[in-house]
């Protein structure tokens, strides 16, 4: 693929969708949207629509996979067949298996697994509509759903991608930028502690660009953290209201 050959990615300091280099797409977060799950979160990131559910801690099956010292975290990232332009065949593929692993490792560091030995904490993310950045949207939603489920956590995890597009390092790539840009680097972090829990990169960037990207992502994750927190507070308030 001659990446980005004919696309004018940057025009008068703005990106194809009018955003600045360090600007996030709109984010909408709703907590507790599902009834059967122990915790859940619906999240929109631009045109991405994802939903996360958490079950557990509950008995781990099969038993030989139990950990006697802590809970086992499972994570399943799944795309609805209609979430993409060309219908996706149902079931896991190599991409979704890898994203599930990376996403699990993104949220694991904040979960206090030692509280629930021999159990499973299960996180399910469904991509209902995809528009670049689904894994970061999924991690953000999963983090909120975990909190909604009352899973003991040290902190929240926030996630965003940065990338290189038209020679510039930019935040939160949209579909065109992701498909035809020069590089994509999804990141997850515990924003308040500058601890990175997920980091992938593909494409081509210099060391300096990567460093710049990391800074952009840090700032954005702080913003996302606030949105996650606000959504959780709102949910908590409304639960209080209902209880009152």
């Amino acid at each position: 693929m001659k990446k980005g050959e004919d696309i004018e990615f940057i025009k008068e300091g703005k990106r194809v969708d009018g955003r600045g280099f360090d600007e996030l797409r709109d984010i909408k977060i709703e907590v507790g949207v599902l009834k059967r799950a122990d915790g859940s979160c619906y999240l929109e990131l631009g045109n991405n629509k994802v939903i996360a559910a958490v079950y557990g801690p509950r008995e781990m099956h099969p038993r030989h996979a139990q950990d006697a010292k802590m809970a086992v975290v499972k994570f399943r990232y799944n795309m609805a067949p209609f979430s993409v332009d060309d219908r996706k065949r149902p079931g896991p593929d190599r991409r979704s298996v890898e994203i599930s692993k990376v996403s699990r490792e993104a949220v694991e560091p904040v979960i206090i697994k030692e509280y629930y030995p021999k159990t499973a904490i299960e996180v399910y993310v469904e991509i209902l509509q995809s528009d670049a950045g689904t894994r970061t949207a999924g991690i953000n939603a999963a983090s909120v759903a975990l909190a909604d489920a009352g899973i003991p956590m040290k902190d929240l995890v926030s996630s965003v991608a940065v990338g290189k597009v038209g020679g510039e390092v930019v935040l939160d790539l949209n579909a065109v930028e992701d498909n035809y840009g020069e590089a994509d680097m999804p990141i997850a972090m515990i924003a308040r502690r500058n601890v990175i829990t997920a980091l992938q990169m593909d494409g081509r960037m210099t060391k300096e660009e990567i460093e710049k990207g990391l800074k952009l992502a840090m700032n954005a994750c702080h913003q996302i953290y606030e949105l996650q927190r606000t959504a959780l507070l709102k949910r908590y308030d409304s639960s209080e209201d209902r209880a009152a």
Binding site: P81, S83, P92, E126
Partner: protein, 259 residues
Amino acid sequence: MGLEIMDDVRKDYVRNMIAEGSREDGRDFREYREISVERAIIENAEGSARVKIGTTDVLVGVKLEPGEPFPDTPGEGVIITNAELVPLASPEFESGPPNENSIQLARVVDRGIRGSEAINIEKLCIEEGEKVWIVFLDIHVLDNGGNLVDAAALGAIAALQNTRLPNERYNLTGDDTLLIEDTPVAVTMVEIDGNILLDPDYIEEKAATSRLTLISNADSTVSGIQKSGSDGMKEEVILEMLEIGIEKAGEIREKFLPA
């Protein structure tokens, strides 16, 4: 485990209430939970609908792709219906290939659509014997509060009603309308200790040992029946359900499926 015991207790509780003439959520035996239908909510899909019946939440998406027709129907499009009971939607659903429940769900919805000839499949022919539209109807369950089949069937026809052929993506020209010629509606009933209940929630589904889904059309004809569950049903109960089901389908159609 804990979950199963809780469900067992609730099941007994629900059966006792029903024996005394009432349902856990205060509904009448012949009453549905609140229904809502949102349309065209997935931009990447050619058609979509999200149907909620009480806490049950089902998303149906329609995708179309050009493909080869079956040899014995060279001038007709192909409909493929699939249901995913993803573990997000219920503590009982497991990851993995479709099992008998998801397969039955998909196939019952599929037969309702086919039997009613709701989709004019001859208009889906692009080039006879060579290329036709393949219609993928994907049922994605988000929250299983019981009675998935009615929600899925309603979502399917609602999604089809707002489906547009993606001519442009495949460099095809012509009208992008998907001709929908009928509006099959599924109504599911269970029998619990001699009482007929409409729209069972998931505890009522567990409490019941037999269930009947009836799919009927705008002209009151029936285009699908499926009995399930490990108990039999008296003939007269089925005849009564036939009556009830067709009538209730009419009410739902009028309210949620404007032609």
